[in-house]
Amino acid sequence: MTQALHWRRRQLLGTFGALGMSAALPALAQFRVEVTGVGLTQLPIAVATFRGEADAPQKIGAIVQADLERSGQFRAVDSSGAALDEVSRPDVALWRQRAADSLLTGSVTRLADGRYDVRFRLWDVVRGQDLGGQSYSVVQSDLRLSAHRIADFVYEKLTGERGVFSTRIAYVTRAGTRYTLWVADADGENSQTALTSPESIISPAWSPTGQQLAYVSFESRKPVIYVHEVASGRRRLIANFRGSNSAPAWAPDGRSLAVTLTRDGGSQLYTIDANGGEPRRLTQSSSIDTEPAFSPDGKTIYFVSDRGGAPQIYRMSASGGSPERATFTGSYNISPAISPDGRWLAYVSRIGGAFKLQVMELGTSSVTSITDTTADESPSFAPNGKLLVYATIQQGREALMTTTLDGKIKARLAGQAGDIREPDWGPFLKS
């Protein structure tokens, strides 16, 4: 079965001339994935080099293997020396000896018209069964996407969960006095510029359809909120009220955002239509209320408030109403993120001067500190709820990391020179 893959990401352009935005450049930051940690249950899989991979512009098998390893749920078994493709009948006894439970084979072939034909087959080595395969015809710039789609197929077949390898992340880099908002594959590769600016960009937030990014820009020398359509570069200013406008958070139906405005004096929460317009106030306090985050059913908003004297995370009804405190450990808790199944709350806690990523199971309120770094920021859940991406400082440099929710498997999405921060994980995209 052949699938034609479409991904209109060739046109990620910032088009606002005054900021001197450039056309989509090839990714200057080439990410390498470094995976550390050992998980309790990791499925051993051998990913054979795809026939034709050595000559292809993208190493399909290697990309699939890295995706699966980064998920924390797979352990790669050495497959060197194997010359297989999707029509080979593998020697399952051999692979059982190598302690693999599964085997992935495939091929990548350049077609006469310059496109590529990518095929694969997944084998259950234990039972000696063919678990299926697919083929894709793709243009060269979609080769990485085809590898991510294969990783999704394998992940779903073997774990029963939906894979996030074809999703995208947004993040910001600073190089000198130049700030860039990037859109990249979930593995950090294939970064494309959405916006460049001489002033800071913070708090990027993907819309629920993955077509737009809301963010805070300081380009006009005060913080204002834009909603930016990444495929076209068109953007609209939705919040430029008196004072500061920040912390955009999309409601799950994509029709409105919760934001922090200071128009009435002091940082308070408001909702505003995604097309802009008159905001409706949600909180009424004389303290700081900020960093809203919707629950997946859209009915609850989590947010940060220092109404008790120091910043803690609260929850309230999305239509406003009396908030209820959610964090009770520690004296400084910020940056809430809710998992897509609504069961987990990730946030950052300042403990003895260090900023540390915490994960709370909302049903029991039990909290686990899951990193050993001390400058964690900006946690964001993958759309399958199995991973978090966050920014931190590792070995003296700012870096983006992914982690399993228990903290056991981490991967560094290492960038080049230039500070890297503010990641946001995008949603599943319609294929």
């Binding site: 913070i202 300081f218 913080p223 500061s244 700081i288 900020t290 960093e291 940056s335």
Partner: protein
């Protein structure tokens, strides 16, 4: 009035005492004009070399002077203690006072107060803390008679430090509110 009488008296006395000086008798000295060096202090320029010649042109960098052009000659920056969001007495209050006086001279002058924090802490929460500093200065200005309509308080949080560094000396320079004449 007494001073004027004294002067007139003195003049009268002197007029009576001296013989008039005939200008013909005064030797006229020939003085060639000497070059006068400019004593301007260049504003915002990076021209460095020691001597200032006759053809020197002193550059003015609008980026750097933008915020001081027309502003008071004193400070426009109010500093804050750690975890503090109210204007300190002494020098900081004096800064507010002098800027208030200046703003009040022109009803059309629009002023933005930019609040900042040091680099410690989350970006959005620090944006809100910087806002508190900007609002504190705004309140102080309005208490000194500046119409609120001329003022806007915004925050840069930790995004625009004045000084790079991760020590208390740098932190102290970054915890500030800047009065910006735009």
């Amino acid at each position: 009035m007494k001073q004027l009488i004294a002067i007139f008296s003195l003049a009268a006395i002197l007029a009576g005492c001296s013989s008039p000086t005939k200008l013909d008798d005064v030797k006229v000295e020939d003085r060639t004009p000497t070059t006068i060096s400019p004593s301007l202090t260049p504003s915002g320029s990076t021209a460095g070399s020691g001597g200032v010649g006759q053809t020197t042109v002193v550059p003015v960098d609008l980026d750097k002077t933008q915020n001081t052009a027309g502003g008071p000659n004193g400070s426009r920056v109010v500093y804050f203690d750690y975890d503090s969001y109210s204007v300190r007495g002494g020098e900081d209050q004096a800064t507010v006072d002098s800027n208030a006086r200046y703003i009040r001279t022109d009803r059309n002058r629009k002023v933005v107060i930019e609040g900042h924090t040091d680099e410690r802490g989350g970006r959005e929460y620090n944006l809100a803390l910087g806002q508190k500093r900007a609002e504190a200065v705004r309140r102080s200005l309005t208490l000194l008679g500046v119409p609120d309509a001329q003022l806007e308080a915004v925050s840069f949080g930790k995004e625009k430090p004045a000084v790079q560094g991760s020590d208390e000396a740098a932190y102290a320079k970054n915890r500030r509110a800047e009065i910006s004449y735009r």
